[in-house]
């Protein structure tokens, strides 16, 4: 079996984290679809390279062993294959939020879409706080309470959740996928 390799990376004799660190740097300079051969002697590289590939979206093709040298093969992912980088870890789905809204104590829900989007339809009780204004309006919310953040598809609310967390909010939850798939109650400010 011959493998067409675009880039060879020699990490023989190096121990972790170096083989993975160098692989990442080499991959940054490669074109999507190109194949990298990583030569390593650290047996730990076998599991780690697969873990790294899985978590980034790059494709791990396989490993060949020649004496003490492990040759790992990786194909660089296309942009569409990348796993979204480092999303906010706490999230719930729309259905879970719908259930929470039926409870006695209403959840604190922040809608970070633009004012116009909010005006045409939002969840009853949701507070409008457009993403662009977030930084100047943080004082309006309690830092120690659980806060649910929602937008249209879950992306802006993910960024907002991370921003809240960075500013010391202890319990922030992103609602996914968000208003685009919401089939529960809606308030609108355009009916009247």
């Amino acid at each position: 079996m011959s493998i067409k390799v675009d880039v060879q990376l020699n990490c023989q004799g190096l121990s972790c984290p170096m083989p993975i660190l160098r692989t990442k740097k080499a991959m940054d300079h490669m074109e999507p679809g190109q194949v990298l051969e990583l030569q390593a002697t650290d047996p730990g590289s076998y599991a780690d390279i697969q873990g790294w590939a899985k978590n980034t979206g790059h494709q791990y093709l396989g490993t060949k062993q020649e004496k003490d040298v492990l040759k790992h093969y990786l194909r660089k992912a296309k942009p569409s294959e990348f796993i979204a980088e480092h999303q906010h870890p706490h999230r719930i789905e729309n259905e879970e939020l719908a259930r929470l809204l039926e409870q006695k104590e209403a959840p604190l829900l922040i809608d970070v879409r633009e004012p116009a989007e909010y005006a045409f339809g939002h969840i009853p009780g949701a507070i409008s706080m457009p993403f662009a204004q977030l930084g100047s309006r943080l004082e309006e919310l309690p830092k120690e309470k659980r806060i649910y953040v929602i937008c249209r598809t879950g992306n802006r609310s993910d960024m907002a959740a991370k921003e809240f967390t960075e500013h010391g909010f202890v319990d922030v939850v992103n609602v996914v996928p968000g208003m685009s798939q919401w089939d529960g109650a809606i308030d609108s400010e355009t009916n009247g």
Binding site: S15, C16, P17, I20, K24, G44, H86, P89
Partner: protein, 383 residues
């Protein structure tokens, strides 16, 4: 960058101090084996997810003043991550010196109690493996039981306390770790004892441990009485020390019982195991304090990190001691055998003297968790 030694981590676990571990190995290795303790919190974020920065790891780390110890396989990646955490402004961040490789070999001695007429018994806890060894001392004379491969700790301890090691005993031919018994006895000029029925294939000479044999320690005449108790292996022998302690080897643990299959004979030996647990042991005083050679859950560790229980209490609480019926017992044991320990065949060959692997190979053979117990027998009982 600050380091924490494995000995310091062991001390924190033994004395129940708060500790936060950020384990940066891959998810698979973490799932198989990690640092545990009653007040240890750990999270797993592989180092290869932290190549672009540690910002997103911060919300998984404690916000209080607690020490954070970054852990990896050998140290390199934990230094890499700890350095970044420090640059990100975290203060009490350490890396574990030598990583899990060193952790696996860390042994912490704890005193269990005094002996009548003077003398003490100590438990040596290899926390990373759940292996327990013992040192019994009276008037400067010491006996070491079930010594592991790393024998320096016993020599060092004896030296500090002014003890001379006269006898070295193994309860059975071990399958999960390499015995240090023979090496230790040769180094200190002690006699090495093994149960003869486990030693039929060994390539070296030893003193046979026969049932009823007593070994004296010191002038106070601490009596170590051998009790033939097969089941984990055909030769498994227990020791009654000073009429107070029952050193049960791999036959009876605090939370479980020994497995009978590591020499490939589950069906043959399960009968012996049942007989030892339900007939031989039950005829002993219920006041005896059971000191096993292993533990598998951190919950088995009591105050000050000591692993022990009264025999009478185990007949009430240990799930493996509640199934007197021969057939039900056989099924419970054979249905609940966990995966066999890493390289256990090679470990047995080494302990017989048939293989002489290098120090690095021996270390590699012992990697991973201990698996000498029958697991979750309580759950199977409820089924």
């Amino acid at each position: 960058m600050k380091k924490m030694t494995a000995q310091e981590v062991a001390s924190k676990i033994i004395y129940g101090e708060l500790l936060f571990i950020l384990d940066v190995r891959n998810e698979e290795d973490y799932a198989k084996w990690r640092i545990e303790g009653k007040r240890v919190t750990s999270v797993n974020i592989p180092y290869f997810d932290l190549l672009d920065g540690v910002e997103h790891a911060r919300d998984q780390l404690p916000q209080d003043e607690r020490d954070i110890v970054v852990v990896c396989a050998k140290e390199g990646s934990s230094r890499f991550v700890a350095e970044q955490l420090e640059e990100a402004g975290l203060k009490e961040v350490y890396y574990l010196e030598g990583g899990m490789k060193t952790w696996s070999e860390t042994i912490f001695p704890v005193k269990i109690g005094d002996l009548t007429g003077g003398g003490s018994i100590y438990q040596f806890n290899r926390i990373g493996k759940g292996c327990l060894s013992y040192l019994i001392e009276s008037q400067g004379e010491a006996v070491v039981i079930d010594a592991g491969r790393l024998t320096d700790v016993f020599e060092q301890f004896a030296l500090e306390k002014g003890f001379t090691i006269h006898h070295v005993l193994d309860t059975h031919l071990h399958a999960d770790h390499i015995s240090g018994g023979r090496a230790l006895s040769e180094k200190v000029g002690a006699t090495y004892y093994l149960p003869p029925r486990d030693a039929e294939e060994v390539t070296y000479s030893y003193e046979p441990l026969l049932e009823g044999e007593t070994i004296q320690v010191g002038q106070a005449r601490i009596r170590i009485q051998s009790l033939y108790s097969p089941g984990h292996t055909i030769g498994s022998t227990s020791f009654i020390v000073d009429d107070q302690y029952l050193l049960s080897g791999d036959i009876l643990f605090v939370d479980s019982i020994g497995r009978p299959d590591l020499a490939g004979k589950a069906e043959d030996w399960v009968r012996d195991l049942r007989e030892t647990l339900y007939e031989r042991y039950s005829a002993l005083s219920s006041e005896l304090i059971v000191l096993p050679a292993h533990y598998s859950k951190i919950s088995e560790m009591g105050d000050e990190g000591r692993v022990f229980a009264k025999l009478g209490e185990l007949y009430q609480s240990n799930a493996g001691l509640q199934v007197a019926n021969q057939e039900v017992f056989r099924k419970m044991v054979t249905d609940n055998l966990p995966p066999q320990p890493h390289a256990y065949q090679e470990v047995r060959q080494t302990n017989m003297g048939k293989m002489t692997p290098s120090a690095e190979e021996q270390r590699e053979m012992e990697m991973g968790p201990n698996r000498c117990a029958v697991h979750d027998s309580s759950e199977s009982r409820r089924k």
